[in-house]
Amino acid sequence: MSRSCCKSLFFSCSDRRLAGRAHHRIGAVVTVLILGCGLLGGSIVAQDDMMAEQQEGVSSDMDEAAPPDQPKITPEQAAFFESKIRPVLVTNCYSCHSQQSGRSEGGLDVDSAAALLNGGESGPAIDVADFEAGLLWKAINYDGLQMPPQDPLPPHVIEDFRIWLSQGAPDPRVTNVVRGAYRVTPEAIEKGREFWSLQPLPAASSEVVAKVVQTHAADLQATKPIDQFVELQRHLQGVSTPPTADSYTIFRRLCFDLLGVPPTAEQVDWFQGLWAQDPEAAMSTAIDFMLASPKFGERWGRHWLDIVRYAESTGREVNMPYTQAWRYRDYVIDSFNNDKPYDRFLKEQLVGDLLPARNREQKQEQLIATGLLAMGPKTLNERNQRQFEADVIDEQIDVTTRAFLGISVACARCHDHKFEAITQEDYYALAGIFANAVTHFGGANSQRNRYVSKLIDLPIPDSQPAMAPMKPERIAAMQESISQLNEELREVRRSLVQDRRANRRPGSGNNATGNNGNAANGMEQQQRQQMVQRLTAQIGSLQGILDCYDSEGKPRSQCMGVQPKPRPSDVRLLERGEVNQPGATIPRGFVKLLDKSPPKIRRDSSGRMEFANWVANSENPLTARVMANRVWQHLIGEGIVRTPEDFGVTGSRPTHPELLDYLALRLIENKWSIKSLIKEIALSDAYRMGWQVDSLASDKDPENLYLWRSHPQRIQAEALRDTLLWVGGSLDVERPTGSLVAQAGPVEVGRGQQLAQLLIRAATSRSSMESSNSDEMMSESEKPSDNADVRPNRNLRNEGPLMADDNPFRRRDMAALNSVSINETSVNRSFDYRSIYLPVVRELLPRSLELFDAAEPSMVIGVREQSNTAPQALFMMNNELVRQQAVALAERTLEKTGGSSQAIDYVFKTAFSRPAAPDEIRHCEAFIADMTEEFGAAARAREAERATEQERRQRRDARNRRAQRGRDNSTETAPNQTERQSNPTSTEISPELQRQVMIAFCHAILATAEFRYRN
């Protein structure tokens, strides 16, 4: 058989396209890397022993290069392989599947034992346990796959392969790896353990305090431990002590920090009363009051969602919604509200599926918690399944190590960490732990989505499902469609097989570009191929919807998360992180740098439980420090370590190391209670710091590391939108059921427009049920109605998911929907719940959030930007949401104060949480007078015009009437007279004018910098 036999057909037709594409990736990468490595002195991989022998300087520390779990090969086996198997592989397969040829069609190489076991896109080539199930065996027997493609191997050769494979495919070819010069040495790891963040915490918080007070007692004024640490640093750094902020500022600070909304005018007065009696008691009372509010969890839960990159879709090109992600969101909010011990909270998210549960409720909660591991961004059109799986695991490693431990392990995916003493082996040891969990994230098939995964059924059915039920007739109809489509699919597949047979007949050309006599030509085959794809996608799409319902049409109660795999195993290290370059098998384990003697992982355990116990542990030097730092950051404005995700070499050092240890220990000592830690910090003097200008301190410490003044914060996106609705009195403080994304159903977001449409419809349908004039309120340009498909559907709730009442397969004119986005006027306007409940679709954030630096939902975000941009300014000046809330605030103000002199004070207290100063009142009064004049003049001008027009019309009407004679005109003149009576006189201010002015005033207040800041 000649090499050219592998020319054009590879695997089945359906795989051909994939194989081609895979080749490009691999070919390019291999070429570039090998050339590059030669020049840069990087790593070189020799996949064949003959090549390896020519290499010099094989690194001695890579003796484990031969997979350790592979059985020892006897000399007989080696001889058999060399004489019977290797020549066949070389002659028949290497031209398309080897490093030497540079081609790895279908992602498969056959020139090393590891590569065969690792397999290609279709899976491992060899199944050691059941050789007849292996793809290589099937392919040489022309069972499904046909290899070599032109002619099968002779029977005696196949028999040789049977012998070889049945023995477990003993393969003497060794993958010799020459690694680059940069390696993390054991000494480096030893040295790395001396780093500050890896030092064990002191025994008790009291010990830390005692040490500081002993050494500096004479100098310290402060009495509370936190303040002693802060004061000590100020002394040491030679910066001044800030003044205490006024009680209004402190109370506003507290409300934003703990609840995410400012106090009402009444609450402002209430707190002032308490403060006047006893500031300490006032703070304590207010803090307790707020920590008990359900709004607390909605505020602090959002911080957590930032760092675990919470989102309701996969992101990237295909962007499939996660219809059940909201359950995790609610879980997080509830956990913060219930003050769930932080160690427990972490454990549930890592191993909720493995933890014992007392009852169904707890089981449910724990299953939902593992959603953390499932909701990372995913490339659903990734063609290589191994790549996809490796990326999912990478994402899980990244989020858990950075969010929980403040250390980035994911950097070691491709090579030893450049800065930290973390090896590539460490990474794959951890990857092995996660690889033993199946990740369930849901989604429906589509033409581009190659990865559909089932959701986990929850033990408790939803009493109030997030999706509307579907009529049983509809379910039946969809099932009917599926079977019809399946029939069609079988038909097309049959003709494809016939084509292939015809093509293989002797005499028929094998040229895809030409006509092949009576067989279908390339074009027709191509069409059939596309048909198969389309039908498969249609079936998958319908099935995806059906999977959300039980047979009666009731939405199932399901969640995202992970489930254990039955038999734990290890993974192989991937050279340069490339899935086609598997190296040694790495035993499951932890990062060596972080623990000298980590807990052992039992053979029959995936290691995930051990990992969770090790992370959520008071002995772990990082876990408590990292979380204590976050809590401090959210209250003080900047962390003690300013890189909350990076407690490593590249991160910032702690500005107050003893304070950080103290807080970490307090967290542990208070049974990991987040609320207790918050309360202690909020009760400190540090929390009451005021603002000052001190040029000396500015020069010494421009970044205010040592807290010589407060850290003002621009209010975060969610809090700003909540505050707008709050001051307007429009905020719905209840928690909505589910999410708009759940209502939209499992439909591919695609370029974003399709789901945007569905979300808009979900939102408008809600508002159209609740307010009859939602359509009228939308200005013409904002109506998403150019497309008939997107008109609000008022009967939605009774009709099943939004997805289902469309034909999902009709290709929408995507471009025609370009102008539609999730903007204020659609989703945001009609959705008046707290912003944490807004849909978080990757790449498609609601405008009010995106504009104000909401956390990018594909990234671990510990610190948000605080920008001030022109589009934000335009938003505050003109956006409908802001204008509506200005109207609402104005109307409330007039109602409460009757437009009296107290109005200004009321608005200030509501918007700024403080009364207006005398000079401000003067400014405000001047503006109000000015606008009264302005609007009054405008109204009079309009009125005059209208009157003239009316008179003209009356004269005309009268003429007409005279001409038509005998019509009664009394009913027509009466209203005109009344209208004229209501005309404002030049001196009197009409209620309408007063309202108009108050709206302009309130709008201005909402637009100020102060409204957007917590100082």
């Binding site: 396209r17 070429t31 004119d813 302005e934 637009a1007």
Partner: protein, 469 residues
């Protein structure tokens, strides 16, 4: 940590905030009523406290503006700008190691201009400017996947979130017109923020995305910018309201001097208010005469959308916008090159030719660098007999104006167009060269983030000096 910052331009977000604060009073209150006037826009732009004010480049250069035309989906280089006679000759032969069957271009190529540049028949209009074109025939990148390659084309990196080319440019050079955003991205596809994002750079350097130019086949162009006007207040009333807002902001700023945010808010209102006037006017094409619209093909069929956007891009550059990106989608032609490619080329051929001509006749071509590229190219071979697949190993881009040589063909792929072999130009090299043309040294244009100095080109990037006029 207070680490020294080697960046010559802006040290850190904090530092420029501090600069902004020390420069407080920039456009003091007396100036508020003159907001809409160009003079004050200029004054604002030149204020040293404004992070967007124009900055000295590292060295003198011709190019001051960039119009970046990106073709999402990966256009087929061997059918457009990379003439391969051998491919035609070897049509139908096995592509060798690469697999598939070689497929000669179904389109004819001919030489144009004095330079004799070979161009495909798909670009009859662009061909008239052959002597201005600088073809880059040896482009290559690291990823054959659309999203990742798009990200690399824009940010240099395909794995991590990094600032885009436009954000780096704005960071390096600032902008001339304070009434307009300095970096505009016209119609970026939803789901790909990599093309305009600032990543770790301060948010002022983020591209302002504008969805303009209407939709293909729908005739009228709807040039709307969100929140650009207030239906409740007229201009005078809104100005009064804003004066009042700024008065309160000013008072706050006196109460809390050096406050990092208040000054930012005051500045943002200044630009926003000016944008309200300038942006709709800039986007209002009704006053463009019919011949201009026809020149861009902005009023006819296929080229209407891209033509309108090119025209807007020209107006923006003219108004002083530093970096404008125009994206065109739908270049992923797996299924049929001969059917799918011609209409796509028709969409862009006339508009780009018009853009070159228009800029030239306005004397703006020398200072405006037009860059055209896809995220990668396509295979010279075929697997289904009619279409071409992804190829990141060799593809073509081109540049016009902005101090590049015209009538030049730089670098080459192998005889069939599979891989870049002669003077290969990696995306990093491409970026380094663009920055160089703007007078920026890609090695010195750094920003400190997470404890290290980042560059657009990471540790790579060779400048293609040969293409510089």
């Amino acid at each position: 940590m207070n680490q020294p910052n080697p960046s010559p331009i802006v040290a850190s977000r904090r530092q420029w905030l501090q600069n902004a604060t020390s420069g407080f009073g920039f456009l003091a209150f007396a100036g508020l009523n003159a907001w809409a006037q160009p003079a004050s826009a200029l004054a604002a732009a030149q204020d040293p406290g404004n992070p967007l004010s124009p900055k000295e480049s590292h060295f003198p250069s011709k190019a001051k503006h960039v119009i970046f035309l990106t073709m999402a989906g990966a256009p087929s280089h061997v059918d457009m700008f990379d003439y391969k006679p051998s491919l035609k000759r070897d049509n139908g032969k096995a592509a060798g190691r690469a697999g598939g069957t070689l497929m000669g271009s179904p389109f004819s190529f001919s030489q144009h201009g004095e330079s004799g540049l070979w161009l495909s028949e798909l670009f009859p209009n662009l061909a008239k400017h052959a002597d201005r074109l600088c073809l880059l025939n040896s482009m290559h990148g690291d990823s054959p996947n659309h999203p990742t390659a798009q990200t690399q084309l824009h940010t240099g990196n395909f794995q991590f979130v990094r600032p885009s080319l436009g954000a780096w440019t704005l960071y390096g050079l600032g902008t001339d017109n304070a009434s307009l955003p300095g970096f505009v991205s016209l119609n970026p596809p939803a789901g790909n923020s990599s093309s305009y994002r600032n990543a770790f750079l301060p948010a002022v350097f983020q591209g302002t995305k504008l969805n303009l130019g209407g939709n293909p086949g729908r005739g009228s162009a709807s040039n709307r910018v969100p929140d650009i006007n207030n239906p409740m207040l007229n201009d005078d009333q809104q100005r009064k309201q804003l004066d009042f807002v700024q008065q309160l902001n000013q008072r706050q700023s006196e109460q809390l001097p050096e406050h990092p945010g208040i000054e930012g808010v005051i500045q943002s209102y200044e630009l926003a208010f000016r944008m309200q006037d300038s942006l709709p006017e800039l986007l209002d094409l009704s006053k463009e005469n019919q011949s201009t619209l026809s020149m861009y093909g902005a009023n006819n069929g296929r080229s209407a959308r891209f033509g309108t956007q090119c025209l807007i891009a020209r107006r923006m550059v003219e108004a002083g916008v530093r970096f404008v990106e125009v994206q065109s989608g739908g270049w992923d032609h797996h299924n049929s090159i001969s059917n799918q490619l011609p209409p796509k080329c028709e969409e862009i051929d006339q508009p780009i030719a018009a853009l070159i001509q228009d800029l030239a006749q306005r004397g703006l071509l020398e200072e405006t660098l037009i860059v055209w590229s896809g995220e990668f190219g396509r295979t010279p071979f075929t697997r289904n007999g009619v279409g071409r697949d992804h190829n990141n190993r060799g593809f073509s881009a081109f540049m016009v104006g902005g101090g590049v040589k015209g009538g030049l063909r730089y670098g080459a792929t192998d005889e069939h167009g599979i891989a870049a072999v002669e003077k290969p130009m990696h995306i990093h090299d491409f970026h380094a060269t663009i920055l160089h043309l703007l007078g920026l040294d890609h090695k010195r244009l750094t920003y400190r983030y997470a404890g290290r100095d980042f560059r657009l080109t990471d540790v790579h990037g060779e400048i293609a000096h040969e293409i510089i006029a």
